[in-house]
Amino acid sequence: MKLGKFLQRQAYDKEALAGYLFASPWIIGFVVFSLVPIALSFYYSFCRYDVLRPPMWVGLENYKTLFFDSPTFYHSIYNTLFFTVFRVPLVVVGSLLLAMLVTRERPGVRVVRTLYYLPSIVSGVALSVIWMWMYNPKYGLVNQLLASMGVPTPNLPEWLGSPKWSKTAIVLMGLWSIGGGRMIVFIAGLSSVPRHLYETAAIDGAGWWAQFRHVTLPQISSVLFLLTIVEIIGSFQVFTEAFIMTRGGPLNSTLFYNLDLYNKAFLDYEMGLASAMAWLLFAATLLITLFLFKVVGGRIYYEAAKPQ
């Protein structure tokens, strides 16, 4: 009996070993290229460090500088929050509406889905360059369109060149991506809503709005919640658009948190300050996600968790 158990144990260990061996390239990569750097960045956040010279311990000075002395810290937080507050609803609601249009199987709907998906294939850099031209105040498509609608030339927005419009311009670029992965996830969510619920609701006299409000929305709440959280986290990390199009200007109006962090790390070589910023961003993201789970999480409908 004991021998049997021993052999069983041996086989189990061997299997575990094999499993770890298969996973080892990832484990090694994760430890060397992610875990150790993450741990080191926490240490560096208490140091002055420029990569070339050894780190100099400064205690909480980096955090103090950010909270009390940095003129761009709160400004970049404001810019990022502005972006998040407008971008997340735009993209989530936009993707949901688009998904609702193309979920039901009709002739040619797959072609339409593909067409809507296409723009999201374009890389962020190429996209930014295209939008720079779209927003060109004199020759851009956006202002040409506005002019054709009768907006007088002096009133046409300067878009990326104006501190008043630059953030809005970058938020609106989100419209480009509503047909991408988010739309696909919503299509999956919408397709999984049982048909009989709509039929029952229709028999009870529910119109399209009541059906949407009382059937669709609760049924896809888990998808909606997931996408909102992912979108919030993504919005906190907004970088490419501002990096390519405005470098944070004009007048720091598009200096988002991550761009400020990038400037400090890779232009000024203030790795300590940048590490402190990265850890603060991590803490903020974690807290907001936990908060959302606490406040909204309980109202979310998970099919698997609550069998009918």
Binding site: A18, L21, L52, P54, K138, E158, T246, R247, L267
Partner: protein, 468 residues
């Protein structure tokens, strides 16, 4: 064999080991350097340089390789956007090239111990510093030591469109000589369409090229013309609130508003690169640009009739320009510093510099401006359009690196102050004061760090001596 037995651990283990081995083997391949296509003898050295839009390669290494068999220089071109970070990581990883040719601030590297001081080599081999434009040496030194040798220059000058001058009834051969004349000409050169929209600007303060919508390069030569120093002699106190600095920015901000303000913003934001650049596309009549602009004009607007001069000067001021050197240095961790110096010696001779200049001109690369005086004034180089003006401007040069330890912060903050002042968000004095405070804060942090590093090096030396 059924599927269950195929999945038994004893069967998985060898497969796992083989898979991991294969992956590691593939990974190792990454570290194996591909063999160089060129056959060579002697010690191989790498020279890292920045590739430009034309992807031309430096020729001096080829001539050097042909001239002897002991040392072989391999040219490695890196894109402008990547070279700095690649060099940084190579230094940290102790795998830096033996030679590094770059531009911009040398002190950014030398202050951090990334470059080898060259004074001993220079003294030993009697290097003649007077062969290079004098004004370039300041940027090469840090705490009394020389860390790089200048090989080229990028300097700024004033360009004007002669056809526009003719249209506006101005003498096409006479650029504005003073600030007042610049404003007067700029007003005369403006063209508007029937709706009153500006279609051509005479001059747009701060406009140069769309590095980004607001990443305007800053024109330090205006305050320098009034004698601004920007930083104290010991380099520890930033001074952007001197009368010269404030006066120059007040003038620029006022000029910006008087010449059209919003109209200028709209025009500036509509310009692009290359043939969509404001001056090249004929939408701006006067502009401050680098000497390399002649190359762009030749490429994108070969028919454009233009002149180049020193900048207009304020009353009581003196001429000034800003310049940035191209330089070559040896990384501190280079494996073959002696051989690297041999190449630098070869490369910086009058003969090779002149040959390099001639090669560039023959290959239509007129953007090159040699740091070597003989090469700069050689007949071939003088055939580059407006070369005498660029040479003349070297007498009045202000280096683009003002606060080496906080170089990027200086540029970002000054540009922000400029935006704030010209867009009327802050008074020029307040904008400059805010910038000064921020740059000073960054500088003080760096001075502390430099002091820490100095002590760290002293400790290391002492410990090495103890062990020795």
């Amino acid at each position: 064999m059924n599927s269950a037995s195929a999945m038994r651990p004893s069967n998985l283990l060898p497969g796992g080991v083989a898979a991991v081995g294969a992956l590691l083997g593939l990974g190792l391949l990454v570290f194996v350097r591909p063999p160089t296509a060129e056959e060579h003898r002697g010690t191989a050295l790498q020279l890292w340089y920045t590739t430009g839009a034309d992807e031309s390669k430096p020729q001096a290494p080829v001539w050097f390789n042909e001239s002897q068999d002991e040392i072989y220089i391999e040219r490695v071109g890196l894109p402008f956007m990547q070279i700095e970070q690649k060099f940084l990581t190579s230094v940290v990883g102790n795998v830096a090239p033996d030679l590094f040719e770059y531009f911009g601030s040398v002190a950014q590297w030398s202050a951090r111990g990334a470059l080898l001081p060259l004074d001993e080599f220079m003294e030993r081999d009697g290097f003649d510093r007077s062969r290079v434009f004098d004004s370039l040496w300041g940027e090469m030194t840090w705490e009394g030591k020389t860390f790089a040798l200048p090989t080229g220059v990028g300097c700024d000058a004033f360009y004007w469109n002669k056809d526009h001058f003719r249209e506006a009834g101005l003498d096409p051969e006479k650029p504005p000589a003073t600030w007042d004349k610049l404003e007067e000409f700029a007003h005369k050169l403006v063209v508007r369409n029937e709706e009153g929209e500006m279609t051509r600007a005479g001059y747009i303060p701060g406009y140069w090229s769309p590095m980004s919508v607001s990443g305007y390069p800053i024109f330090l030569f205006w305050p320098a013309q009034l004698g601004a120093k920007f930083v104290s002699n010991d380099g520890r106190k930033v001074n952007l609130t001197s009368e010269a600095c404030v006066q120059a920015m007040e003038w620029e901000a006022g000029l910006f508003r008087r010449l059209g303000g919003d109209d200028l913003v709209r025009m500036r934001n509509s310009f692009g690169y290359a043939d969509q650049q404001g001056f090249i596309s004929g939408q701006v009549s006067m502009i401050a640009q680098k000497n390399s602009f002649v190359q762009e004009l030749r490429k994108f607007a070969p028919e454009l009739d233009y002149g180049v001069s020193l900048f207009p000067v304020p009353e009581g001021g003196h001429p000034s320009t800003t310049f940035g050197p191209v330089w070559i240095g040896i990384p501190a961790c280079a494996k073959h510093p002696e051989q690297a110096w041999e190449y630098i010696k070869f490369y910086t001779t009058d003969d090779i510099q002149t040959r390099s200049a001639a090669y560039a001109v023959d290959h239509d690369q007129v953007a090159f401006f040699p740091a070597n005086k003989t090469a700069a004034q050689s007949p071939k180089q003088m055939s580059v359009p407006h070369m005498p003006v660029f040479i003349e401007s070297m007498k009045w040069g202000t280096p683009t690196t003002v606060v080496p330890l906080a170089h990027t912060v200086f540029y970002r903050e000054y540009a922000l102050a400029w935006d704030n002042a010209t867009l009327g968000k802050k008074t020029p004095r307040q904008a400059l004061l805010d910038a000064e405070t921020e740059i000073q804060r960054a500088l003080e942090g760096q001075l502390d760090y430099a002091e820490f590093y100095r002590k760290h090096l002293e400790q290391e030396t002492a410990m090495a001596e103890d062990r020795g």
